[in-house]
């Protein structure tokens, strides 16, 4: 059964190994906590296995995994009532020692909607149109979030863009 199930011509193990880093990055980016990120990581691949949707391509599979990971993180934050504390949660949850010289440090301090778009745009190399599909937002909204996100990062570094 395990060998029969295919995900865009990939076995489950192949899919996990190929997109594990992507899912991990999304989960860490959203939750910024190793333990919470692991839970969402496992839940994401559990849904992949048990739901086993049909994928047109590996890009489709990747986009699906990113979208599921984002939703899983959102659900996780909602269930643990950590979203209510907002900024405080993010500050408390950071256990990744990002180097201040790297923009990952600034990204981790960007509010959630801007951080999702910035991460997908700069880290996962998605285009605005693709980000709009993954996050289920309008393209103009994604563009606005990108623009505003850049301004926030710039403000984090004191107005100087690196």
């Amino acid at each position: 059964m395990k060998s029969e199930r295919r995900f865009a011509d990939l076995s489950f193990e192949q899919a996990v190994r190929k997109y594990a880093d992507t899912v991990t990055g999304v989960c860490v980016m959203r939750l910024q906590n190793t333990a919470d990120a692991e839970d969402c990581f496992q839940n994401t691949f559990s849904k992949l296995w048990f739901k086993s949707p049909d994928f047109d391509s590996e890009e489709h599979l990747k986009a699906w995994l990113i979208r599921v990971a984002v939703n899983e993180c959102a659900d996780y934050m909602r269930k643990n009532r950590r979203a209510a504390v907002g900024e405080a949660f993010r500050e408390e949850s950071v256990d990744f020692a990002f180097d201040r010289s790297d923009m990952s440090w600034a990204l981790s301090r960007t509010p959630s909607p801007y951080r999702d778009v910035l991460y997908l745009y700069y880290c996962e190399q998605y285009k605005v149109k693709e980000i709009a599909v993954i996050l289920n937002k309008k393209e103009n909204t994604v563009k606005s979030l990108l623009k505003r996100g850049r301004e926030i990062i710039r403000s984090i570094y004191g107005g100087e863009e690196r």
């Binding site: 899912v23 990055g25 980016m29 692991e38 496992q42 691949f45 296995w49 880290c123």
Partner: protein, 299 residues
Amino acid sequence: MKESDFSQYKQLKTPEEWIDKALKIPNKKKAPLFFLRPAVIGAAAALVITAAVVLTLRYQFGAKPPVAPESLTAPPSVTVAAEESVGTTGIAAATAAEGGTAPVCTGTAAATAPEGETVASGLPASVQTVPKPTAAPYTGASAAESTAASGASDPQPLTQAAPTQQTTAPVTEQATEPVTEVQPATEDKPAVEVPDGVYCGTLTLMCPVNSPFYQDGTVHVRIIPMTEEGLPYTFPTALTMVSDGWSAEKAEKTAVLDPLRVGVELAGDYYIVEVTDSRGNRQEFYAALFEDSSFIFYI
């Protein structure tokens, strides 16, 4: 902003243990739906069984018990919502001969039962009390005082012809309280049900067509008080009354007696009401008679 600036995010490596744990996911069984869990199924089954048992028990024990045989043989009770339109003219039995028959008074008073009295038809012989909700209780005054106070005429002499004058206004009140029934007397025991707080004012004799008293136009009524021990004896003021007329145009014949007007105070004791006629018909009732209450006897 350069892409390489996010190198730490890009170089983020997934721990191998995360991947190993994820690879074990296919070996896990998907959690069954909550309603398929044995505990949920068991609880639902227990609930259904409990409901079924409760409904069954309620159906079995909640059913009306069978009627006792003795209750089936008991005399039928009659509930009368009596509407009186009777002119009470003293304790007397009325003779119903058309044109008016001279009364034969053997007691201290005689009166005429006016025509147009309300009667009930087809009812079995039973005695009923109809409380008068608006009547004031008797204060223990004598018959004369009571008569004078009510503005009625004096009781007629025994030998006097039948008075046609109505001494009191017709009563048109309607009993609104539930009727207290008095069981008819039997030879074995006087089945008397003593009503609480019921007062007796008048005794009404109702004679259906099939009654043996119907043919004769005259009845004699005696009210005999009984001691507390239940031994009947003739009370000094006991009366033998003769009716002076029946309402012959009606299917039933009725006579209205007012014991108080002739000096018989009904103090709530047990009484024997004896009704006889010249043909030898005789009927007795045992009843607890009170003031200011209407008793109906079916003879």
